[in-house]
Each structure stands twice: as C-alpha cells, then as structure tokens.
Symmetry: C2
C-alpha cells in the first residue's frame, strides 16, 4: 500500500532527513566529478549528482549549483577561467570521489587530498581526472539563476570528449555500463548499472 505525504508535512521534517529523502526520490544519476582551476592554477574537484544533457547540436551539458551564499569554488573557477571538465566516476574511485564533498580550503586541492590524479589534455585549460574512463571538456556557455530558490543551472559547451578506444560499437552505440560508470542516488548511495534491454525507436 502507499503513503501520501503532503508538502506541509515535508516542510516539517528535520533538515538532513528531508535533504536525504528528497534527493533520493529525485532519482538515480551518473556520479560526476567536476574539475576546475582558478587563475593561480589552484585546482578544485567536486562531486555533482545533477549533470544533465542539454542539447546535441552543439553538444551542451549542464548541472545544478547550490546557492552562492557560501563560497563555491567550482562556480568561481568557471567564471574566472571559462573552462571545466566533467569526469564520470567509476567503481575504482567512487570512495575518493565521494570524499571530494568534504569542505576543504581553496588552497588545498581535492585532487591531492582525495588521491585522484589531475591531468591536462592538449593544453585544455581545466584539469581532467586521470582515473576517469569517460571525460568531457567544456567551455562555459551560460548560467540561469533559478528565482524559486537561488540555485543556478550552469551550462557548458562540450569542446572535447575523451572515451575509451572502440567504445562506440558497430551499431553506433556506447554501452555506458561496460565502461564502469557509477550511479549515485542522493548524496551518499552508490550503485552500478545492470543491463535490462535496448528498445527500438517508438512509433505509434
């Protein structure tokens, strides 16, 4: 049987209980590390669970940034340098990736603190995560301030994809589960993907 919960009841929940449950109900998504640096080359690495496809021509991706009422190194760095990277988390690094969510000072890079390796590709101006199998390099395209709660949608134009050799198969398809991308639900629970089925393009 089902329980019906009204907005007024949710509003009365204890803060961390509420954040936990609501983030989980919002669904599964690929765990991604966003890499940036400031103009003094101090690097930053942060876990995001809101990376979303925005468009394919050109290829845009976006993510939700919480209100800038506290310092947001990722946001500041993107605005300062114009570049960032999105790196899929895999099962060998999800514990280190999770650890990037701890509050470190701007001067201590999460790459070092969390034992992940920063790597630069073709002079791209933001650091990639060497251990990630699927990496995306983006330039800042636009931001939308969400009036309802002062979060922001940050959108980047994809400049560079780094994927394993031969990962696009003969059907022109990429099987993300075969490249070990890890799923996060909410802020703390990690999953792997278990293949069910690939369906045909739907027609009436």
């Amino acid at each position: 049987m089902a329980t019906i919960i009204e907005a007024e009841e949710i509003a009365g929940w204890e803060k961390y209980y509420r954040i936990n449950i609501l983030n989980k109900i919002s669904g599964f998504r690929t765990a991604c590390l966003i890499g940036t640096s400031n103009s003094a080359k101090n690097t930053n690495l942060a876990m995001f669970n809101s990376v979303t496809h925005i468009g394919s021509n050109p290829f845009f991706m976006g993510f939700i940034l919480r209100p800038t009422t506290v310092e947001r190194h990722t946001y500041n760095n993107i605005k300062e340098t114009n570049y960032f990277t999105i790196n899929h988390v895999n099962s060998s690094i999800y514990k280190q990736a999770h650890q990037t969510s701890a509050k470190y000072a701007e001067s201590s890079s999460e790459f070092k603190k969390c034992h992940l390796t920063e790597t630069y590709i073709d002079n791209f101006k933001a650091p990639f995560v060497k251990e990630s199998v699927i990496k995306v390099g983006l330039s800042f395209a636009e931001e939308q301030l969400i009036r309802s709660n002062q979060t922001r949608l940050i959108i980047g134009k994809v400049e560079k994809l780094i994927i394993p050799d031969n990962s696009i198969n003969a059907n022109g398809d990429l099987r993300l589960d075969m490249h070990d991308s890890v799923i996060v639900n909410g802020l703390d629970t990690y999953y792997k993907a278990y293949f069910l089925e690939q369906l045909e393009f739907a027609r009436p």
Copy 2:
C-alpha cells in the same frame, strides 16, 4: 587507450548517431513519466530522462524540455493547468513507458495507447500513473529559457509524494533500488540499479 574527439568532429556526425552517443555520454538517470492534462481533460503522458533535484526547502524538481518549435503537449498542458506529475518507471512498465515517446495526436492519450492506467489522487489536477510505485505531484513554479539552444528548464514545486508504506527505513533512508525504479541511458537503453555501498558524510 583513449580516443580524443573534438567538438568539430562531433558536429560532423550524422544527426541520429550524434544524438544517440551524446545522450548516452550524458549519463544514467531514473526513467520518469510526466503526466498532464489539458483543460478539456485530454491527458498526456511522456517519457523524460532529465528529471533533476532542484532544491529541498521547498522541494523543487525540474526537467529539460526540448525547443517548442514543434507542439509539446506536456509543456502546453502545464502552462494551461499549472500541474503535472512525475512517475518513476519500474521494470513491469518500462516497455509501455518507452512507447509513450511515439508521436501521438493530442486527442489520443498515451495512457490508453500505451496501456498505462491514469489515476487521480485527492483531486490533484494532473493524472498519476497507477502502475508507478513512486509518484510525485507538482505545481508549476517557473521556467528558464536556455539562450544557447532554446531548450527550457521547467521547475515544479512538489505538492504531494506517493511512496510505498514503510519505504523510509529506520535510518531515515529510502533505498530506490528496492522499489524497482528503472534507469535509462540515452533514449533507448534501460538498466536496473545494483547496490554498491552507502558512504558516510565526508569530512576533511
């Protein structure tokens, strides 16, 4: 070894090949059906792979809507009635859910065409999917037109949650995998979640 692909090369890819690969690289997410009706009570049901958590106080969720250069029944209905529902897809209904992506006329409801049952809860003004185990009822909060490509971020305020009895466990946690929520990658490939680990809140 890795292959590096530049934006210029992606721009030259054949359209459907490009859309397929880029949607897949954008990651896994919970497959969701969005239910709406117009003021004449014609219902609509559509699959979305971009549902995102926007905030927890109040609880806001959002999704990306493609450009309104063709008719978007979901968008029109939300603007007309102010309400919509987000229904998690599960493994018993993912084939019917996928079929909602076929182009049906506004007068034929995807509920009927795709053998899913519309249900109304407490006079909420948008239809829920009876077969979904996790259901969310929302009122329209705001939209953001993305200048880069004319897609829209549509944001709703959660008014009502319908979850299974006892699905919030003694730790104040909800295990989405135990409620059979299905994952989609790109537009056509379905997965289930296989639990890895729940990690502690990260501290430096």
